[in-house]
């Protein structure tokens, strides 16, 4: 996986303004479907993400949610990164959410999926990275934060 993989994330939304976690996922899903031809079956992709969310929590911390699914509805890995305009109550336990990253992975891509999730968890563990992402004023600056932190994405 290239180190600037997330810098080239297929979809970036900086002004996500929704009222719930479910709405946030739906918004990111809609954006991914619009931006990507890799999503072959939009409805199936969303259904798989929802099903996965019912099985186990998808939040890595109070600020970050990683809804994801391994699904046949995508032909390659797709990633959408969203930043909320303010703290979002994603679920009962995570009420200060600021980032939501929706990932869709083909079923055979086990290694890529683990690589992506591990890289993201390492990246967001760094408070400076999170602050820079929150401070980014436009999409280019936002993407540059990822691009400028190759160590975090190894």
């Amino acid at each position: 996986m290239p180190t600037d993989f997330f810098a080239d994330a297929h979809s970036v939304v900086l002004d996500l303004e929704v009222g719930s976690g479910v709405a946030a996922v739906e918004a990111m899903h809609q954006r991914l479907v619009t931006d990507n031809d890799a999503v072959r079956n939009a409805a199936q992709f969303l259904a798989d993400v929802r099903a996965r969310m019912l099985l186990a929590p998808v939040c890595l911390s109070g600020e970050l949610a990683l809804p994801h699914a391994r699904t046949d509805a995508v032909s390659r890995m797709v990633v959408g990164i969203g930043r909320t305009t303010g703290p979002l109550a994603f679920d009962a336990e995570h009420r200060e959410l600021r980032f939501i990253i929706l990932i869709g992975t083909p079923k055979a891509a086990v290694t890529e999926y683990l690589q992506a999730v591990a890289a993201l968890s390492r990246f967001f563990r760094n408070p400076t990275s999170r602050e820079r992402l929150l401070a980014a004023t436009d999409e280019a600056e936002f993407r540059a934060v990822f691009a400028g932190s190759p160590a975090a994405l190894r």
Binding site: L55, A56, L60
Partner: protein, 618 residues
């Protein structure tokens, strides 16, 4: 604050798991290493049973003589009626034990360990084996012309079989462990670990592939070391140093090979006829064995050398302490006595009696040759030694084992060239006269009625291991990691609530991420399972299942039934062992040890089923 503490704990836990996994990978033994460890344990226990059996034999011997002197010397000291009484009583007691044991073991399968290895599932019944060995105690200790090696091997095999069943070994593993027990029994009987290993490899398994030979060697070495530490085990046959064999002697050895190769099948045939004769008498079992003992005793009144396994006489022969005229008489009488003991059903082996026959034939032939052509047989005693190996080779159809065993039993390298030549010639001569041994005939008949347990017609269900390593689809990453620590596998099988197989989580996939604490709760098994992992069905042929291992790095395949339920796992090691076994399938058994094994096919209570292996006199 609480969340931060939990995060730190989780991070530490995963770091610990990663280290433990690394240590486990480096230090935890593989399946083959585990097999070797259990082979060593089987060898140790086999040697212990041998020691117990030999000690008990000596105690019984002490009732009428002195175990320090040996059976022949004890017989020499007995009055004529004592010579008659002791073997007769021993035979009667052996028969009584077998008769009584028949009621105990009626529902049990054959106790024959060779059968358990070659056409069975490795299960050697304990009660039947104990009954047979107890009976053998009486027939052997009372001077029957039969060897101790049979019960020694039987006991070692049954211990190994029990050990394997306790550890829930799969049938191929169990068969291999029983084979290890047999190798241990032979090694402890002869202080010959190489020959013990090769005996089982060459005669029973029919292969010297390392998959099976390795464990056999470990077991045999373990048994021999145990015997050497706990007893005064030594070189069995101390022989004089022989001069280097001249090229002019080689024709003599070739002739000896032809001669012995001709006598051995006749000897084995005579044993079979003797057995048929005793059966035709329709005597009750106790009376039959007593009659066999009576005949041996009657001969022993004038020729006490016929009593026992013949060890001391062989020692005298190869050291030139007996005149050829005496040997001629003893040779004929010993043959008759062995027919009586073996034919009547006395439990034991005929290995050492066979060595005696070879030594006797070799010395007589060497002496005759020396008389007319002194240069063609410089030392007739060397012919005796070579004759032993050649007879063994001809009788067992296992020339490699015979040569190694002779070498280990005598540690004499002087006769290695004629021994090799003579053994091979004797083998081919014997084989051309009689294609298969008595044992292999019986085994073939039995094999025809038993489903092939190896690859040919075997199904996955026959070789399937129950309780495969599995994990719930919703198990968190941390739990998956813990399971990998607890079970030594490369793949965990993922099932849903109903037990349906969904795929596998591969250790290879998750290993790089064990240090990621955030993944511990975020990722579940369903996220990382591989659905395209090959699987086999219980009713699938094993030959087809073998193809499932091609192209993947896996030691096991999941066994999934037609409803998608996970039933067990199929180990590659088991399949490979079965492949090794298949190289000598029952129907293709060209050569097997002869001896008491034919009786395994009779309807009589288990009498003797030991192979033609000899015992030491300790």
């Amino acid at each position: 604050m609480k969340a931060a503490t939990e995060g730190v704990l989780m991070r530490r836990l995963l770091r610990l798991l990663r280290w433990r996994l690394w240590i486990q990978e480096k230090l935890q033994p593989t399946e083959w290493q585990v097999t070797l460890i259990w082979a060593a344990v089987a060898g140790f226990l086999g040697a212990l049973t041998s020691i117990v059996f030999l000690t008990l034999t000596e105690r019984i011997h002490d009732w009428y003589g002195s175990s320090h002197l040996g059976v022949v010397e004890s017989m020499q000291r007995l009055p004529w009626w004592g010579c008659l009484l002791v073997p007769t009583l021993g035979g009667a007691l052996a028969g009584a034990v077998l008769k009584w044991g028949h009621h105990l073991t009626r529902a049990q399968s054959s106790t024959d360990y060779m059968e358990a290895i070659v056409i069975g599932n490795g299960n050697v019944p304990v009660r039947g084996s104990l009954v047979k060995s107890t009976a053998a105690l009486f027939s052997i200790a009372s001077g029957g012309s039969i060897g101790r090696e049979g019960p020694l091997v039987q006991l070692a095999a049954v211990v190994a079989s029990s050990l394997g069943r306790w550890r829930k070994f799969s049938p191929p593993q169990l068969r291999l462990l029983v084979a290890c027990g047999a190798a241990a029994g032979i090694a402890s009987a002869y202080n010959a670990p190489i020959a013990g290993s090769f005996f089982v490899a060459e005669i029973i398994l029919g292969t010297i592939a390392m998959e099976s030979l390795g464990p056999l060697v470990v077991s045999a070495v373990s048994a021999t070391l145990t015997m050497q530490v706990l007893t005064s085990a030594h070189v069995l046959y101390r022989v004089p140093t022989f001069q280097a064999v001249s090229v002019w002697e080689m024709p003599g050895y070739i002739a000896l090979g032809l001669l012995v190769g001709g006598i051995a099948p006749v000897f084995l045939l005579s044993l079979k006829h003797a057995e048929n004769f005793f059966v035709s008498l329709k005597f009750p079992l106790v009376l039959r064995l007593a009659t066999g003992g009576l005949i041996v005793g009657a001969i022993a009144i004038n020729v006490p050398e016929v009593a026992g396994n013949g060890y001391s006489v062989v020692v005298d022969i190869v050291n030139g302490r007996l005149l050829w005229v005496s040997i001629l008489g003893i040779f004929a009488c010993k043959w008759l006595a062995t027919m009586a003991s073996f034919g009547s059903g006395a439990p034991g082996g005929v290995f050492t009696p066979s060595l005696f026959m070879g030594a006797g034939a070799g010395l007589l032939f060497g002496t005759l040759l020396h008389e007319f052509f002194p240069g063609a047989a410089v030392d007739p005693r060397a012919f005796a030694l070579v004759g032993m190996g050649a007879f063994l080779s001809a009788a067992t159809h296992a020339p490699i084992m015979a040569v190694i065993m002779l070498f280990e039993m005598t540690l004499s390298y002087d006769i290695i060239l004629p021994l090799l030549l003579c053994s091979v010639i004797a083998y081919y001569t014997s084989k051309s006269l009689k294609g298969s041994s008595l044992y292999s005939e019986v085994l073939k008949r039995k094999a025809a009625t038993v489903p092939d347990p190896t690859l040919g017609e075997g199904r996955v269900a026959d070789m399937m291991r129950p309780n495969p390593p599995l994990v719930s689809a919703n198990a968190h990453f941390a739990e998956v990691a813990r399971l990998f620590l607890n079970v030594r596998v490369n793949n965990l099988y993922v099932v849903d609530e109903a037990g349906k197989f969904l795929g596998v989580v591969a250790l290879h996939d998750i290993k790089p991420y064990l240090a990621e604490p955030d993944l511990a709760e975020l990722v579940i098994a369903r996220d990382i399972l591989r659905e395209d992992f090959p699987r086999v069905a219980p009713d699938q042929l094993l030959t087809e299942a073998l193809a499932g291992f091609l192209g993947i790095v896996a030691e096991r395949l999941p066994v999934v039934d037609h409803d998608g339920l996970l039933r067990g796992s199929l180990a590659k090691g088991d399949l490979l062992l079965a492949l090794v076994e298949r190289r000598k399938s029952p129907k293709g058994l060209p050569e097997m040890a002869a001896g008491s094994t034919p009786r395994a096919a009779s309807n009589e209570p288990s009498v003797s089923s030991a192979p033609i292996v000899s015992e030491s006199k300790r």
